[in-house]
Assembly symmetry: D2
Homo-oligomer: 346 residues x 4
Amino acid sequence: MNALVYNGPGKKAWEEKPKPGIVKPTDALVKIIKTTICGTDLHILKGDVPEVSEGRILGHEGVGVIEEVGNAVTAFKKGDHVLISCITSCGKCSFCRKAMYSHCEDGGWLLGHLIDGTQAEFVRIPYADTSLYHIPTNIDEDALVMLSDILPTGLECGVLNGRVAPGDTVAIVGAGPIGLATLLTAQFYTPAEIIVIDIDENRLAVAKQFGATQAINSSSENATEQIMRLTQNKGVDVAIEAVGIPSTFQLCQEIIGAGGRIANVGVHGKAVSLHLETLWSKNITITTRLVDTVTTPMLLKTVMANKLDAGKLITHRFSLKNIMEAYATFANAAEEKALKIILTND
Amino acid sequence: MNALVYNGPGKKAWEEKPKPGIVKPTDALVKIIKTTICGTDLHILKGDVPEVSEGRILGHEGVGVIEEVGNAVTAFKKGDHVLISCITSCGKCSFCRKAMYSHCEDGGWLLGHLIDGTQAEFVRIPYADTSLYHIPTNIDEDALVMLSDILPTGLECGVLNGRVAPGDTVAIVGAGPIGLATLLTAQFYTPAEIIVIDIDENRLAVAKQFGATQAINSSSENATEQIMRLTQNKGVDVAIEAVGIPSTFQLCQEIIGAGGRIANVGVHGKAVSLHLETLWSKNITITTRLVDTVTTPMLLKTVMANKLDAGKLITHRFSLKNIMEAYATFANAAEEKALKIILTND
Amino acid sequence: MNALVYNGPGKKAWEEKPKPGIVKPTDALVKIIKTTICGTDLHILKGDVPEVSEGRILGHEGVGVIEEVGNAVTAFKKGDHVLISCITSCGKCSFCRKAMYSHCEDGGWLLGHLIDGTQAEFVRIPYADTSLYHIPTNIDEDALVMLSDILPTGLECGVLNGRVAPGDTVAIVGAGPIGLATLLTAQFYTPAEIIVIDIDENRLAVAKQFGATQAINSSSENATEQIMRLTQNKGVDVAIEAVGIPSTFQLCQEIIGAGGRIANVGVHGKAVSLHLETLWSKNITITTRLVDTVTTPMLLKTVMANKLDAGKLITHRFSLKNIMEAYATFANAAEEKALKIILTND
Amino acid sequence: MNALVYNGPGKKAWEEKPKPGIVKPTDALVKIIKTTICGTDLHILKGDVPEVSEGRILGHEGVGVIEEVGNAVTAFKKGDHVLISCITSCGKCSFCRKAMYSHCEDGGWLLGHLIDGTQAEFVRIPYADTSLYHIPTNIDEDALVMLSDILPTGLECGVLNGRVAPGDTVAIVGAGPIGLATLLTAQFYTPAEIIVIDIDENRLAVAKQFGATQAINSSSENATEQIMRLTQNKGVDVAIEAVGIPSTFQLCQEIIGAGGRIANVGVHGKAVSLHLETLWSKNITITTRLVDTVTTPMLLKTVMANKLDAGKLITHRFSLKNIMEAYATFANAAEEKALKIILTND
């Protein structure tokens, strides 16, 4: 089969690799129908994620069809259409038993990271019974690819950790795909105001279309001053960090109101300064989280009930065999106005 | 001034009464701008609420303007526009301190019940600082009257007690004004399905317009069978009782799924049969509640942010001086297709 | 091997049965070290649980040692000492994924009910990885048998569902083994008062030793009046029903305070009357639950840290081969002052 | 009357001041029976709290007797014995209505800070109805002084924010009075292990007496290594910072396990480094809080029920008129082995 392979920093190729097979009785072999590229894949390609070894097939998102299952798999059979979760969960360890699959003792983020991933014609999925989800056959599978990672990440790390509630004023710092996924799922809880901050005018325009009540370009405006003005100096109830750098985390600290929640979604590469000298008495909560994908069943229900238009996040489509071109587009997201790219294994 | 007075079972009149004044330093005198009639007022008129004495002015909902405040009132001054809460809260007792204003030791449901109410040109509001809410002057005051009682009741007793969550399947039994208020506020939490059950086709049609995904006429269909079929025999996640009779509470027990919540909103006049012989092992939760109106600030924010169209519940408008005619319309709600009636003190 | 077999209503025998073996790759075969008898076993023997077929080996509690595991079992190996949970959990179905193992689609209460149980020399445990717990070898195994069912039941159905909190006034209706397990685990949360109600003086005396602050004999005193007097007519914060008959559930309704929680633990055989005509406005919560055993890891930690003296519940000890004598003692619990009986497979 | 007056950095005196009187109708005048000195008072005396003006009477803790009440006070009358809360709450503003009294718009930490305090023969208490608590006359009033600040602070900022639960492993960094108050109240929730870290051997010895299961002297041992060893490299469930300097907050970050909570109690004077480069994926929660004193009623119940021995924290007693000597002792706490000092107005 063919797959997108990481060949060390800066090097990737669409090349032939052996078709995977069942290794353990709890495995499934899935033929990819649709997959996508994540910002994390670009980080890996830069060499920022050293635990990814050379030769690794990338990708941790996708929809597929079951090709074969191990003899301990009971929930799936050949021919079933499935959503692949970016997080592998054994279902048995103490973390899985408390719904913290991200820290599964024999799972977590494995696909396209510690084992071969989904940017391929076939992928082996460990612990299939607890890491795949049934999907109906008559559904828009492009949209469902958004449920592998980006939507549960925005929802769990941002919205749920931020405890977004009806009537709240929410700030989302960063309008990339994850920030926009956070914006879409924040609306499950009917906040009164959603202020989105970014430095890209196109993304801010998209944010307004997706439900932001205010869009602030922090490269041309003083975001802190603007937000304090919009909130009559009270600050926001929830500040969601969806970038991953010190200055955006700093902004969250500046705009958070007393009793507020700062929910970190961004992947950070260095320490930030936490201003306890002012925050110690402000009754705030700061959370971090690697997505657990515990909300996948709920997200599937909302998509199927037409309460969430997940497909909105898709801007480009390519054939899987043209993935090198797709990567070029995605790496140049600002100019290409790219959010999520669907790759079809046709 | 003139007021609608309860003169004993079956007897009411729009008659002259002395204008109220400030009695305690925490009181406010409010000139009514808008008020409405509640189903509870009809119960009082039937003689079902014996603690209401003859001569009592009815009404516990409304919007008005401050005419005068006692010398301990600090949050309001003459000329302020206010929303009147149906629940009076002292802010000091142990119940108020735990946000259970309904059981306030010197408050609770007083207006139009134990003290004179809002179906009058003026009303005295005890504990004004903690029982009134500021409203902007440029807002649709008709819509805000819905925030005195009906919307917090649906939200608190039904939606919050039922813990409605994204993706849930919710059944609302009863599509009267309270059931419809529950339907509107349930959508704050993006359930996947909302099934409304009633025996009035008009109200079911309104429910569909208001967001119900299914409407079942239980006079012509077997509601239990229908719902079990719609839910693949799993039952619903949340069943909200908004009628107040044994048969509708029974229906909730029949359709509740394992792990589900039955939230009682209806005012009951007699005991019901609780089927613990089947429910003991179903991990269900049953709640009761007199509205606390703790959600009033949140509801005001959602209305002001255009996230809740509270005015939808209004079907008729009268001048306050024609309240006798309004009562006649409201008492004949099915034929008149009446939900909430706005009375304007013009 | 030998086992205690249900041979139809009123008939049981300690008789020879084939030694079980591994049927599915997720099974374990456990050699029983210790087991016990539950009140439910007496109900089965009376014929009250019709789904138990003749020839069934009873028992759903115990501690043992792994004899053999199926090839998909990864967490246990021959020789491991294990605690057997009364609830079998597949770890994969939607109920298990939300920690509601009691309703596991391929598990739940199986042992000594729908499949052969633990009152035997050996027992087959389905879904071993998610239905057994490792225990250290140097621990009091008698005490741990209390963690198979009785302690998680009291804790989950009574204490957690009742949301017992520091400073609360709690009433526990029924001082049998389950009521006493509730009493022990309620103290995890430091309530101010724990009032225990029963009709057996010996059990009330035990309750006082176990931490009850008040003991009321409802056969000689008016429990409702007593409790209302003790609580200055406020009623209790939490009422836990640990009997399973209408009159004890009625008592809970009479003594519950505004805002209180009634947590049902008892197994009920018929409907009860729910007084919504008074409770509709009291802001109460009523819960039911079949134990999920989600608290087993927490209970193991508290026992190992000497924060819970689970062994206190044990009053009698027999050799497993003398189980018929043990049943006679347990069936005559009041006279024998029996709570829990340990049976040792020696 | 006499009072302890702050006369600028480094200067304090027990001097004559005018007896306060009722200023607003919601005030009470309280004659002090007992008071104490807080570590915060030492900070003020150093000049670290610039908003404290010269001439201010210090102190924010105490028990007293009502001397006079304003005409809007309804819950208290002359002669009532009262506990004074360190936090003044108006009961009416949006923060008070959500139980966040620390941020009361007209209250919060006023006593001995923005208005005259309790280290005096008399003190004026604003918003008496919502800032004082009735206490019985036959109770140990020394112990109750611990409920003005130190015990609610440990409980709310440390234990509740840290969500301490049965079976948890908890680390408390700092065994000063606040750390020890945290230790006492953490036991309301029955954690399995409580590890206390300090650099003072005496305080560590006290911690062991008060219920710590491990005591680590971080001046002679590597606390991080020790704790990781004690927790089999999992880290702790809850880390409570009760010092207020970067190195202790750093320790909390090193020892927190995946899914854990860091609850900040300490008052910080400068920013700390937050290691998001490792914590971003650890699913942790960090909280800050100025005590709200919402738990005061609960603490009163636990003290009266003998579930909390608050008096344990008292090491020294002085007459109020000898407060200068008491300050000298408290300022030299390590050598004097001083925790809390009771000052009696005799």
